[in-house]
Structure formats: structure tokens, C-alpha cells
Symmetry: C2
Subunit: 136 residues, 2 copies
DNA sequence: AAATATTTTGCAACGCGGTTGCATGTAAGT
DNA sequence: ACTTACATGCAACCGCGTTGCAAAATATTT
């Protein structure tokens, strides 16, 4: 059975060509994508709104996660298989100021931070900006 | 001489009532503010556009900085006197999921992260979400 | 294989956040 | 007080994202 269909079914989603194409785009381009990126790649075939809705359902089902950015929202594949119930919440992303790409740094964990008394942290989001290996 | 006027002059800005009021709002409310927050507080007196432009100039002059958020852009006062040339770039912000407030954690420094080879970091932005002391 | 129930898509329209152009008003230097 | 340079208000506009609804596609049942 097709890999894409399998992933969609695993998250209790009907397989449609739009969902397959969006998922496929996330897999081949590995960096974080904005709605505009996807519209640029697939906009000929699908309506803007459909892409928005696809992103929304993928978010809800735990297939992708939001990526914080200083200039707009992006999305990236969840590494460990997240589901609707359980979600891996800590992320480190690196944004290259030269090429503009944002990538997840999967294997890093966020070091402990000494919070002042009374603060109860639930999840962490670290955005590091600089120059990536390709642009050095 | 007035504190507000002095700060504005220090950053080479003309003193206008709008700038004084926006700056004053940032000082009294201590948390990060969105444009909407400011419009709610001062909207009777000033045009939306003027508030946008005030935020933009404050950003450029180093009086405030952007605060990343999962649902929209906010701004907060720069702690150490930043200027147009020099800017303190590392920030830790805590967003309370209960009351919705976002605050800068000024005295913390971001712990070192072991980046893969080739990545050259320039600045760090850490967003921690959870529950703040007031909402515990 | 055909019929049904359910979900997804496309289209149009809308709302919100933010920006730009331009004429008027205001602050600061002489 | 006069002048110059900058700041404001207004109107219009753009882009991102959402919603309602009818038509199309998917999955399920017989």
C-alpha cells in the first residue's frame, strides 16, 4: 500500500489527492513551509482554501506542527508520530537569515532553564536565527 | 524633565503625545502588548495607522522588540538600553496559557545549545508556555 | 455494482492585521 | 515668529486566513 495513503489512514483521514500532494511536499522539501509555499507548489491544482483546510486538519491530527517565525507562520512535519491525543511539544528551529529556510533540529533537546518561582512550564519553543551550513 | 520625553529624545525621536502615551502604556502594563492591546487602550485618541507607525519607529530605534507568539505578534520594552545600532538579541518569553499574558524573563540567559556542525547562530528566541505565578 | 451516508472541495464573500499615498498639522531650530 | 522637516489622519488597498453553502468525491452498505 502506498506510503502516503498509509500515513493518512493512520491518522484517521480520508485519502484525497490534495492531502497526498501536501503531505508529499512536506516529505520531499524537508524545511518548514508556509501556506504560500504550498500554494506556490500546488496552487495550480487546488484552491487556496483547500490548502488552508488541509493544513488545519493536519495540525489537529498531529501530522504537522506550527513553527514560530519572526515574520509569519510556517509548518513542519512532526518527527515522532504524534496523534490527535498526544503531541511532542518541544521544538528547536533554525532559521537561516541568508537563504530564509527554516528547519527543525530534531535531535537536540532544549536545555533546562531556571525559571523564577511560580512558573510552571508546559512546552518550549526555541527559534535560533543565523547562518545554515549551506550558506556559510 | 519628563521621563518619557527624555527616553524619546535619547533615541532621537520627536516627542509627540502619541509616542508618550504608547511608551507610557508599555511602562505601566509590564507585559508584552499587541497592536490591538494598544488600540484598545488608546484607540479613542489616535488613529490605528499612527499606532502602527509608532510601533514601527520604536522597533527601529530599539525601544521595543518583537515577541514571538504562536498566535500573533506582540511587542515589549527592551530592557537594556538598545539603540538603532546595537541591539540585545536574545530573549526568553513566558506565555501563560491561563491568563494569556506574555512576559519577558529579563534576568535569565538562554543556556548553550549544541548545534550541529556548520550552523552559526546569531540570536535566540525562546518561548515557554505554561502557567504563570498569578494563575497557579 | 449501485445506492447511500458522510466528508471534502471549490467558489464567493467576508474580516482582520498591516501598509501606502497624500494632504494637513505639529515640533523644533534659526 | 518663520521655516523646515517630520508626524498624523484619512482613505484606500493588500495579503492572510476564515466561513457558508452547493457540488463533487470518498467510504460504506446492500
Amino acid at each position: 500500500m502506498d506510503q502516503l495513503k498509509e500515513t493518512l489512514k493512520g491518522h484517521h483521514l480520508r485519502t484525497t489527492t490534495c492531502r497526498e500532494d501536501v503531505l508529499s511536499t512536506f516529505i520531499t522539501k524537508k524545511n518548514a513551509l508556509s501556506h504560500g509555499d504550498l500554494e506556490g507548489a500546488l496552487g495550480e491544482n487546488y484552491d487556496r482554501v483547500t490548502i488552508y483546510r488541509t493544513l488545519k486538519t493536519f495540525l489537529e491530527k498531529g501530522i504537522i506542527h506550527k513553527v514560530l517565525d519572526d515574520e509569519g507562520l510556517r509548518y513542519a512535519l512532526c518527527s515522532h508520530n504524534c496523534s490527535e491525543e498526544q503531541h511532542q511539544h518541544d521544538h528547536i528551529h533554525f532559521k537561516c537569515n541568508a537563504c530564509g529556510e527554516t528547519n527543525c533540529l530534531e535531535n537536540l533537546s532544549i536545555p533546562a532553564v531556571q525559571l523564577p518561582a511560580g512558573y510552571k512550564p508546559q512546552n518550549f519553543n526555541l527559534l535560533i536565527q543565523g547562518t545554515c551550513p549551506k550558506c556559510n
